[in-house]
Point group: C2
Chain length 121, copies 2
DNA sequence: CATTGGTGCAACCGCAGAGTTGCATTTCCC
DNA sequence: GGGAAATGCAACTCTGCGGTTGCACCAATG
């Protein structure tokens, strides 16, 4: 309801990369930092960091501002928050759905197919 | 704190793909369904669906069980839920961090660097 | 003004993953 | 038994993306 699929998509893609998550951790710790600084903390080149920061920025997870000759980035919690809500909503919806199905399966009608066996591996 | 980085990683990767999200939606709606059935609802081949289901299963987002000659899948909300908590925790941590930095920047000490200008684009 | 530290830009590489097709195999059902 | 429906397996293609390197460009500073 609250946020749209597409925005969530960009956030999920942004967060799916482990380097990007490390980058966010570093940024959150530093408060604010430049691409060069961050590249010093991770085992990748500055250019790689720049590219990552670009996708993070497009997901709204970081903000940047120029200060003299350097560009400082800082973290933005908002999209993370709305994504969390999106996930929680979805989990709740699934739960409701499963509950409804279980009720139907156990009580009134004939069962056309059984529940899948619990197949942990 | 609650769940480990690696598990979250697999969930995020699984959710990052739009086809996989559609697949989960379809599955949640159907209650349970086979790869063949699902392939009928999405614009991809059955084999593609099978591969997606494999990564979803490894992320714990679906469960499957054999019923005669067909394999039925159903959705599992738990990992979604813990991921949501993970994101929310992180967002909160960032918020605290930003607050702390703002306090430091405004009050006691000299400011070594200014806040980045608000650069929405 | 020349140097130096920080960015921006572009080309390039390698690989994983999303997708396909074809075929073998199992199981249901007449 | 013998199709027909569903799954399993394998090989293959192709695009995207994470990463690098090299160089040009700016701006602070002695």
């Amino acid at each position: 309801m609250s946020v749209d699929e597409h925005e969530i998509g960009t956030v999920l893609v942004a967060l799916a990369d482990p380097t990007r998550r490390e980058l966010l951790d570093a940024l959150a710790e530093e408060g604010q930092a430049s691409a060069t600084t961050l590249a010093g903390r991770l085992p990748v080149s500055r250019q790689a960091v720049v590219k990552h920061l670009r996708v993070l920025e497009e997901a709204g997870l970081v903000r940047y501002g120029r200060l003299g000759r350097e560009v400082l980035y800082e973290v933005r919690p908002a999209p993370l928050d709305s994504s969390a809500r999106w996930l929680a909503e979805r989990a709740a919806a699934w739960d409701r759905r499963l509950e409804a199905i279980k009720r139907v399966a156990e009580n009134p009608p004939a069962r056309p197919s059984d529940k899948p066996a619990d197949h942990e591996h």
